[in-house]
Amino acid sequence: MSRVFVSRDMASVALGADDVARAFAAAGCQVVRTGSRGLFNIEPLVEVETEEGRIGFGPVGPADVAAVLDGSHANRLGRIEDLPFFAGQQRFTFARCGIIDPVDLNDYAAHGGWLGLEKARALAPQQVVDAVKASGLRGRGGAGFPTGIKWQTVLDAPAGDKFIVCNADEGDSGTFADRMLMEGDPYCLIEGMAIAAHAVGAGHGYIYIRSEYPFCVATMRAAIEASAHLVAPFVLEVREGAGAYVCGEETALLDSIEGKRGQVRAKPPLPALQGLFGRPTVINNVLSLAAVPFILSEGAEAYAAVGFGRSRGTMPVQLAGNVRHGGLYEIGFGITLGELVNEIGGGTASGRPVRAVQVGGPLGAYFPPSMFHLPFDYEAFAQAGGLIGHAGITVFDDSVDMAHMARFAMEFCAAESCGKCTPCRIGSTRGVEIMDRIIAERDITAPVRPEPVEGRARASTSSARTEGGYLGKALYSRAPDRIDVSIEAQTNLLRDLADTMKYGSLCALGGFTPYPVLSALDHFPEDFGASAPVKEAAE
């Protein structure tokens, strides 16, 4: 009887992996459901256990069973780890993902699981915090704050109830690393949280998972139950989000766990001192916590040995959108944007030229190919007017209308604003209006883009969240004849508004929405009705 491996990752299932798994089971194979290897153009992927290792075939369908089992299938890929996409990676955090059965405790232990926790428990809490500090690990949720320093604050807080909260809200479009890890190697996250609990003296942990990730919720719940005895007395619990992007912001997330509207809290007090239920709380992204078992088991130096400048260790980069080899690519910091998009990603899926990439989700900047020399590094991206965020790279081909993308950024901010501060709550709505005027004026005066793509005109002009609601009414609330609708005047107004949002918002939703908007304007002025690309001409 052949043993075959088929992923049960949500993306694999979306491409038909369940049907493939059923077909192999019906043919008498022993089917092991794993996480995803992380390269989606070869999915659904089947790996067959042989003497030369696991031989992959993909993409395959349910009708391909016989051809796969006799080895004659045209999509034979050989050993997956030998494919260039995988051979070039440094899989510290995702070492087991796609290989093991995610909820099989024996499989996890056989692949180096629990070694980090064992080592941590043999150390004093301060030594664990010191190891995390020495690794140089910075928060992978977006802000890049040193994880060890955060833990130190919580360790130093007076004893009593303390909490570990895992931020698994992963709302950024173009990101899926948290999801893949939780579905493919949930014990890795649990181990990281248990190490954090030991390090700061916490007894209870929460994993806040967005409701759009039903597979994650189920897998994490099963894994928590199966491993409860191994992390005891530390206790873990999953909390499900409810479709609010802003709940990814750490203080909004804490309020949401407490059963409130997910509104952002003013800081100070820091969550590290007064977090969940007013108690000292470590709140970290999934990838930050999942990096910790490696740091403890392999040593802080091994982690810090790779990287670039002050960005140490590896980043699980996510190649998304219109990209040929989309997927998860874990690599040390310092690789350039161009290498990621063109060499590893293979350019666009549509075969058309790459026009723009958005890095870091809806609050991240758009970059043109002329900036592909940028190294993947927190500081380099900040200097270039952008951010790494959660390391999602969304690729767009030349059919993209950047003015529409700028409008979408404002619209998204308006729909997702928690409402606490004016620049974000009102400014985003004003921003949508300005973009509508610019687009209308542009389309009257100069239909610049010669090949309109089908359906483009509809893109994001109507949203159920805004249409007919308060936003619909407010959109044209000002008498149009009282406003100077020229592109120049509106562009100045847009920059002014972006400035107000950037400096006057309480959190990064309002504060960073100007990044996608202004980067689109600066790098692609022709889409905003201007004649020359200002920024590129200056280079």
């Binding site: 491409l15 409130k260 899926a349």
Partner: protein, 150 residues
């Protein structure tokens, strides 16, 4: 549903932090959260009605009207847009006979927006009655349409 609320809180606790789990359980049970149940929820958790209303209306998931018998949640976020999501959205609205964000008049199917399913390299994506579907093109859309017609 009022009994559901009291039974649920008896089993799972009635502290304030139980509010979201309770609302999720109600959503699972009835498909939506009826405004008429707000007083019962408030009583069970010892909160004000305004407070409960405020929480329900803050979160996009907590719908207050009945959903369609089938729900197609189509992603509208950037990565799906980059892969032709807008054209698929227009085609889906036309084929299913319902505008984005609405329930079809006969109650058979609802088309809802979702902002990212974390399947960003294989879009356009949707959740069809909770089942993920990727690489939606005309043929896949046709399969979805037949599925939700049943």
């Amino acid at each position: 549903m009022e009994d559901f609320v009291t039974e649920w809180t008896a089993r799972h606790g009635a502290t304030r932090d139980r509010l979201l789990p309770l609302l999720h359980a109600m959503l699972e049970e009835a498909g939506y959260i009826d405004d008429a149940l707000v007083p019962a929820i408030a009583r069970a958790l010892n909160l004000s009605r305004a407070d409960v209303h405020g929480v329900i209306t803050f979160y996009h998931d907590f719908r207050r009207t009945a959903p369609g018998r089938h729900v197609v949640k189509l992603c509208r976020a950037e990565s799906c847009q980059a892969r032709g999501g807008a054209a698929i959205e227009a085609a889906a609205a036309k084929r299913l006979g319902v505008a984005m964000g609405e329930v079809r008049a006969d109650g058979q199917v609802a088309l809802e927006p979702v902002y990212c399913l974390g399947l960003c390299a294989i879009g356009p994506n949707a959740l069809v009655d909770g089942r993920p579907v990727g690489r939606i093109d005309a043929a896949v859309l046709e399969r979805i349409a037949l599925e939700v017609a049943a």
